[in-house]
Amino acid sequence: MSAVQSPALDGAQDTETTEELLTLNFGPHHPATHGVLRLLVTLQGEVVRDIKPIVGYVHTGIEKTAEDKAYWKVIPVIERMDYLSYYFNAMAYCGAVERLLEVEVPPRGQYLRVIHLELNRIASHLIWLGTSALDLGAVSIFLYCLRERELILDLFEMSSGARMHTRYFQVGGVIEDIPAGFERKLREFLEIMPKRADEYGAILNSNEIVLQRLRGTCPLDSETLLSLGVTGPLLRAAGNPWDLRKADPYSSYDHFQFKIPVGTVGDNYDRFAVRLAEIYESVKIIEQAIDGLPEGPYITEDRKVALPPRHELATSMEALIHHFKLVTEGFRVPPGEVYNPIESPRGELGCYVRSDGSSKPARVHMRDPSFVNLQALAHMSRGSYIADMIATTAMLDPILGGIDR
């Protein structure tokens, strides 16, 4: 497929007898759309001339629901937006509310957040890698990726009791300290993960079919990507080293040494290679965070925001009152509005929160990277074969829960 490069491809078209355009409905229920995504594809022969994405099939009104809940009760619903990167959704939202409240997260809380965020980034990239490889015809890698993701979910289960949508991040820190044995298990995982990532690379980089479908297909330059608002691995694959963890560090990301993998031409192979390399960098960040994990509280000691510890409830009347107020009404947030962007596995995930001074947010909006990045699909795939469009959709990594919200 990639043997025919884009410029030559137009030439190849001249020899085709057909000038007729065919509109093909692709999805919403199609395994290669990575969710409930519908694409109206205009084809000329086998060549994609235009794509119109149609979304909204899994719109659940989460932003509307959030307006009817106390601030801390919004966290579980907001986590269900982009269902593969739940820690990131919670982080963007909690960061916005913390900024409104002017609450400081203690260093231990920040480090624990980084550990879970990066574990989540690896888990999200593993699902992406497994399902994308599946689209490209490499079936077994899917099983390997889910095998390693299982280890991460076990860690999440250890720290929070839930494997997905953990509600671990709270406004002001994290809900609980990591339990005994977590560190040992985490270190075991950190030992295994880079070796397994080596294996994925070895399997896919020696698979001629996968390489043919990725190399040189559907490139897009950094300039066009920026005008389309694309961020994250897709932008880095085109050679632009923009990463909010480095550019505008939050949650102590400036304490850690890591590299930003970038690509050169921005084709599908670069998109694949950048994400695979990010897995190694995430492992490095987690290693440094667990080595340097500071002692101290894991959630703010501001009793107006965070629940008092369990043991205080038996002895302190004040703690009981705070507990009662927080659980029934929730905390009130000073009026104002903020936009808090973070780097999710798919790009800039921004959370806009407007408060009217009550205990419920007046508006919560997620600038979801999948929603914005989806606009680039048509620009990437125009003039290439329909099979390359499948590979591009996979490399775009759209999460429909995040797109439709």
Partner: protein
């Protein structure tokens, strides 16, 4: 972020297009005249804010003018963000589309139109994006009730269609 002084300087450069400046929690916000949004954004782009990170809507119910559209601009070389905000009343909720200058606004303006009913003039394809095409109302408005939405199963779709007529 431009600091409070930098924000005032920006507002001065924009002249009468800038209505108000808000500096809140180290984030700079410019309230601008809805009629001049395209020129405002292009002026800011010339000053380095070359990336439009987000366009989203907000409802200030019961204050008037109710509907707000928020543009988050980012200067990637200085890592500097500025929020541009405009407000329009519900009975004249029309704003010029910035899609021609910023292609990223395409889907996001459609979402604001879908959820709040702000009409973006000059948008190439202004349709609902998340809600069904035949949906009535703009669900993210604050006076739009939660709940009461009928659940449509295929088996009673005909009944539901009859009831609507």
């Amino acid at each position: 972020m431009p600091d409070a002084t930098g924000l005032e300087l920006l507002a001065q450069d924009l002249g009468d297009a800038a209505l108000e400046t808000v500096y809140f929690r180290e984030r700079a916000t410019l309230m601008v005249d809805p009629g001049q949004i395209r020129t405002v954004l292009m002026t800011l782009r010339a000053k380095g804010y070359g990336f439009l990170a987000s366009v989203h809507g907000v409802d200030h119910y019961p204050e008037e003018p109710r509907l707000g559209v928020v543009y988050e601009l980012l200067d990637m070389s200085r890592v500097d963000r500025i929020t541009v905000k405009l407000r329009v009343p519900t009975d004249a909720a029309t704003v010029a589309s910035v899609t021609a200058d910023w292609p990223t606004a395409d889907h996001q303006e459609r979402e604001v139109y879908d959820m709040f009913g702000v009409v973006f003039e000059g948008h190439p394809d202004l349709r609902r994006i998340l809600m069904p095409e035949d949906y009535e109302g703009h669900p993210q408005r604050r006076d739009f009730p939660i709940g009461g939405e009928p659940v449509i199963f295929t088996r009673d779709e005909s009944k539901w269609l009859e009831a609507r007529e």
